[in-house]
């Protein structure tokens, strides 16, 4: 469906406007900053993925024979910390969000371009600190660094890792702050709230969570560092402190954090499904409202991570009830996306394949969340591989699929090139198969009783066969991830040049050049049409809505 047949005229765009390392490192162009982020988070994705590979290799056999338990404990800790704080949380907002938010609303840039650049530098500083920490000893507390283990019983580099995460957290806060102000204040004339793409609504909701939630984990890290350094007693029962207080403070951020990770991906899926079905998203306002509801309700459910932690029964009841209410808006979205397909005109390009994958895998991941919210079941499956499977279905089957789908969808806009469609469809299929093979067996393992964070299961050899399936799947999944890395890079040099709107998609970002110029629009657009006006686009009434200057 992509039309790439334009003569390769060398037009000025944001990529070729200035050359030189300095023009990149001191840029304030949101698009260049998005690419800086893209390179950095891809790097950290591979670091986190490398740890995942080591984990799965160790778990091939019951005995802890690949590495010692201490080393394995560092593997899963660092896999978690790198993936959560240095990949998933920034991923879509810092790359696709940074690139597209101004363009989708008709603006020249974000509200605070220099702060945008600062947020990238903070991310890099945090990332370098994390790398240094890992190569000079690492951490072994689990990414959740529960007390008193992390404050008084481990000699690994907690303070350094904590500081790295603290700094990366500031990066996240600044991105969120920038988006909220931009979306409020910099919409082009005529771009009312109800004409905004759902990608924008999703990023708005995400930004609220980043702004309000991240500071709480920041102060928690400060308290843990202070306790370690000064032997305070805030979390140490021997000195009158309460280890559960740590858990409440930690999860108050870390639960909303998972919505930071999934909401942007949901925004991407809305854009892709409407474009490749050639119709408006069914129930636009319900989908938009669901994003906001998820952000709000997401702050009310944190203690569902603590049902067996020693909380009172009544607290557990309340948090279980609230957890069911946060599941409803997600379900509503899945129904609306499915209904969008009805009487559509559906194309099977790679972005759409990723969106289909998202629908299926997010559904399974979300449904298994219901199991965990059910108190009676959670007692049995919490802290087992059931939870690991659940959150990987959402994070990898959901968020990462959405991210990959979005990268493919907007790649022509970002790079001015088309990726090879055949390879892309193959990669999507490999990812889907590899993913399910890796993580579905883990649901079974969890109910069987295999606990998380176990280096060794030699007393339970009956767990081995499912672990072997899981590792086999991980290998396939790894191949599926490598392919896009290779062909995206290849396409930057050898890919077909893309037209300005190869998908004939709705949305102001497609009215710009591919790749866009530094200031996006030659004149400020004036919006007179509704979002997702595919009927007008396809009828050729307005072939592509013209920018009114």
């Amino acid at each position: 469906m992509a039309t790439g047949n334009i003569p390769p005229v060398e037009r000025e765009d944001y990529l070729n406007k200035h050359y030189g390392v300095g023009s990149w490192l001191f840029t304030t162009d949101h698009k260049r900053i998005a690419l800086l982020y893209l390179i950095s988070i891809t790097f950290f994705f591979f670091i986190g993925g490398f740890f995942a590979l080591l984990i799965r290799l160790e778990l091939l056999t019951p005995a802890s024979d690949l590495v010692q338990a201490d080393t394995y404990n560092k593997f899963f800790t660092q896999h978690g910390m790198v993936m959560v704080f240095f990949f998933l949380i920034p991923s879509i907002p810092a790359t696709l969000g940074n690139f597209l938010v101004p363009m989708m609303i008709g603006a020249k840039d974000l509200a605070f371009p220099k702060i945008n650049l600062l947020s990238w530098y903070l991310y890099i500083i945090g990332g370098i600190m994390m790398l240094h920490c890992m190569v000079t000893g690492g951490v072994d507390t689990g990414w959740t660094f529960y007390t008193p283990f992390s404050t008084a019983f481990t000699n690994t580099k907690i303070v350094e890792a904590g500081l790295a995460i603290f700094i990366a957290g500031f990066s996240s806060i600044l991105t969120g702050l920038n988006f909220v102000v931009t979306i409020h204040r910099m919409r082009a004339p005529g771009m009312t709230w109800t004409r905004l793409p759902l990608f924008i609504w999703a990023h708005y909701a995400t930004s609220i969570i980043q702004i309000l939630g991240t500071p709480v984990v920041a102060i928690t890290i400060v308290l843990v560092a202070a306790e370690r350094a000064l032997h305070l007693g805030i979390f140490d029962p021997k000195l009158g402190g309460d280890p559960l207080l740590f858990q409440h403070l930690f999860w108050f951020y870390s639960h909303p954090a998972v919505y930071i990770m999934i909401l942007p991906s949901m925004g991407v899926v809305s854009e892709i499904i409407s474009c490749f079905s050639r119709k408006r998203i069914f129930g636009y306002s319900f989908v938009a409202l669901s994003s906001i509801s998820i952000a709000v309700f997401g702050f009310l459910v944190w203690a569902h991570h603590m049902f067996v932690a020693g909380m009172s029964v009544y607290a557990a009841l309340i948090f279980s009830l609230l957890s069911y209410s946060v599941a409803v808006p997600s379900a509503v979205k899945v129904f609306n996306w499915t209904a969008t397909l009805y009487k559509g005109s559906i194309h099977y390009d790679a972005p759409m394949l990723y969106a289909f994958g998202f629908l299926g895998l997010f559904t399974i991941g979300g449904l298994t969340g219901l199991f965990l919210a059910a108190l009676g079941i959670d007692v049995h499956v919490t802290d087992t591989y059931f939870v690991v499977a659940h959150f990987h279905y959402i994070m990898v089957g959901g968020a990462l699929m959405g991210y990959l789908g979005g990268m493919h969808f907007w790649w022509p806009k970002i790079s001015g090139r088309l990726y090879p469609e055949g390879w892309a469809r193959l990669a999507a299929l490999i990812v889907f198969i590899g993913f399910n093979l890796t993580f579905f067996p883990q649901f079974i393992l969890g109910y069987l009783g295999m606990p998380r964070r176990y280096a060794d299961y030699s007393h339970m050899p009956e767990f081995q066969i499912l672990n072997v399936f899981s590792t086999a799947g991980a290998t396939v999944l790894g191949v599926g991830y490598l392919l896009p890395m290779v062909y995206f890079l290849w396409s930057m040099r050898y890919g077909k040049p893309a037209s300005d709107n190869p998908w004939n998609a709705a949305g102001l970002e497609w009215q710009t050049q591919s790749p866009p110029t530094t200031f996006n629009f030659p004149e400020e657009p004036v919006v007179t049409w509704e979002a997702y006006n595919y009927d007008e686009i396809d009828k050729g009434q307005k072939e592509v809505p013209q920018v009114v200057g």
């Binding site: 032997h231 021997k238 069914f282 499915t338 299926g360 399974i364 007692v379 802290d383 299961y457």
Partner: protein, 334 residues
Amino acid sequence: MFDNFPLWPDRASSMAGKVDALYIFLIIVSGMMTLLIFTAVVYFAARYRYRKGVPAEQIEGSTPLELTWTVIPMGVFMVIFIWSAVVYFKMRTPPRDATEVYVVAKQWMWKLEHAEGQREINELHVPVDRDVKLIMTSQDVIHSFYVPAFRMKQDVLPGRYTVAWFRATKPGTYHLFCAEYCGTQHSGMIGSIVVMEPAQFEAWMSGGSGGPLSATGEKIFAELGCATCHRADTQGRGPNLQGVFGKPVQLEDGRMITADENYVRESILDPGSKIVKGFKPVMPTFQGLVSEEQVNALVAYVKSVSQSGAATGKSAAATEPEGVSGKAQGSKVQ
């Protein structure tokens, strides 16, 4: 199921069947929902695939449909919530008259002591069809006592007791895991629950012990001089402990609390935090002077003088208080 390819854990406790029933219900509900979505997506993707000249039909939405598919899931969720809450409530409410076992977790082993005195490491022998209540604490970091076959899990915290219970329904040996990451040998902190027929269990029990835990507690009570203040009459500087356990206690600040295991433990390790009405804050703290096992024994002893009523706090040698009165000795950092 298959020996080396099990797909379901053993069902060996009174709660296991209840949990499994709820789980199967959820699998059915999820399965139906997954099938529905998958079928819809696949069908629509095929039926409405792009055909030249056939445009998409713009459908804004449908508020009745939105309400339907909001309300129905909410209804189903509420059913799940209520059902699972009932199961959970049962799990968190130990039956009266359950046999008590004290558990002390430490990096990286489980130490268990039956009320009758038998001590075990990493193993727990119990008779089938008897309610067993675990009173657990940790010496160091947070651990979690997990028996998949019983569908039972409870985090074990330092500084306080947490409680769990089960009734084993099938003889056999079942895995015991630590389910809260606790350091290097977290995956080595495993053991077994050995469920025996009553007769075999009696035989095992008579294999010797150090005497009931409460008797150990009575000895410690005497050795540490507790009896000098906690006398069996109203003359003592401290409250009479006969019949205290399990009953409401009025504190000097007006609060009413129940004297449970955590209260007794706190009274030993941090006596200044709750003063009984009518008494002065003169009890010294024993933090650092007693081990977790000794605290467990003292708790068992205090329980025993509330049950029988005949046991008194008198010790063999009534020592004179030596500077014990007057001030609470603040203990320094461990």
